[in-house]
Symmetry: C2
Amino acid sequence: MLTQTLNTQVHGSTIAPATHPVSDQFGAITGHVGLVASEFSYRKDEEIYGEDEPAEYVYQVVSGAVRSYKLLSDGRRQIGAFHLPGDVFGLESGATHRLAAEAIIDTTVRLVKRSSLEKAAGTDVQVARKLWAMTAGELRHAEDHMLLLGRKTAMERVATFLLEMDRRLAVAGMMALPMCRRDIGDYLGLTLETVSRALSQLHSQGILGFSGARQIVLRNRQRLHNLDA
Amino acid sequence: MLTQTLNTQVHGSTIAPATHPVSDQFGAITGHVGLVASEFSYRKDEEIYGEDEPAEYVYQVVSGAVRSYKLLSDGRRQIGAFHLPGDVFGLESGATHRLAAEAIIDTTVRLVKRSSLEKAAGTDVQVARKLWAMTAGELRHAEDHMLLLGRKTAMERVATFLLEMDRRLAVAGMMALPMCRRDIGDYLGLTLETVSRALSQLHSQGILGFSGARQIVLRNRQRLHNLDA
DNA sequence: CGTGGATTTGAACTTATTCAATGTGCGTGG
DNA sequence: CCACGCACATTGAATAAGTTCAAATCCACG
């Protein structure tokens, strides 16, 4: 909730790692308009913002990982997205955050004031177009995820998840997952036990290898694709 | 797929019925920039556009109803949204439609070329802002729906559905659902039988009344809210 | 009025969940 | 450097929720 003093600095450092193939979405805006970006860090499990809180900042993950989620009154949780280094999150067209956000592990973000983005968008049509494109990208992910949550089997969901994480954070053919089994379950609409069972089955079939529960190597992406509906 | 000749006409007629409380989103754009809108009609179950097809037009329902959906290779279907009179659909930031769209019943739409909206957005920041806000509105719905699909029980999903439809299309306290039980199931991530059983249970509890399977009266919105997590 | 798709209802079944116990490994401190 | 402790993960067995398959009923429409 940003109670500490911000370490304000002019933007400009490169964050997106070489393994993240998309262009630096944040830089595409801040660089274009010369906005000031700050950095901030959160510890594991610390809240970055709450659901329905005013959307004062837009964030980009520098290092670490973030989960965005909604809760039901009895505590059931649906994680809508994981945000990894280079990803922008917390961007809203309206006044408030639609999902809460928490650091999954110790995390550093860059952030800019929403108001300065709004102002830039009011001046520069290119910025406005970019903001729209970023929200549209989130919508695309949500649409794909609705299909997963509504219609895929447990094994298909886990296969989809592994391929997504492989694409987004694999380095040298290996994934270091920042999130626990419960987070994965809450992302896939499953229990942590069902996620664990699916991973064990993939392991026993030689489709993936473990070096620690969160270090995964995909040994056969094709078979994983086949399992993914 | 728009093979017939379009009945081109200047926009201006009011479409959103009095029961649809939001402002006319289409008019907010076309009126502002003076774009030309056309009308077109589709018969029940006719495709309006396919998944991954180039997004040439943006649509607004004049009368009827539309379903947007994705399919898995084996035919499993996830409906992402129902579009009712006044609703805009088919708006994309990228080049292609991310979901397919079909008329649920005989339906008339207004449409404008995507290229003319793009052009207007390049000139007028207000238009650009409005396009962003419309996509953000779709994202919000998708985020709420992910929570439903990932974490709500069958009865909670049906209760949520009824309250959504009540809000969007109730006239004089009564809903005339345009879609069949299978559509509802594919929207809620359930089978049509499960939807039917939930509705029967709500009927037997006096929470709703039927006059024909698709004419529903909510008799106790509070109890329905209580069933909705 | 009859007809056929749509809906409801029933019963067996499947999948994933729940509850419980065991196992693993990482980080910390001795 | 090794051992300990605890959070995390795995595995098992019983249960529950929703699906599947089947049959009966309902209506909307011609």
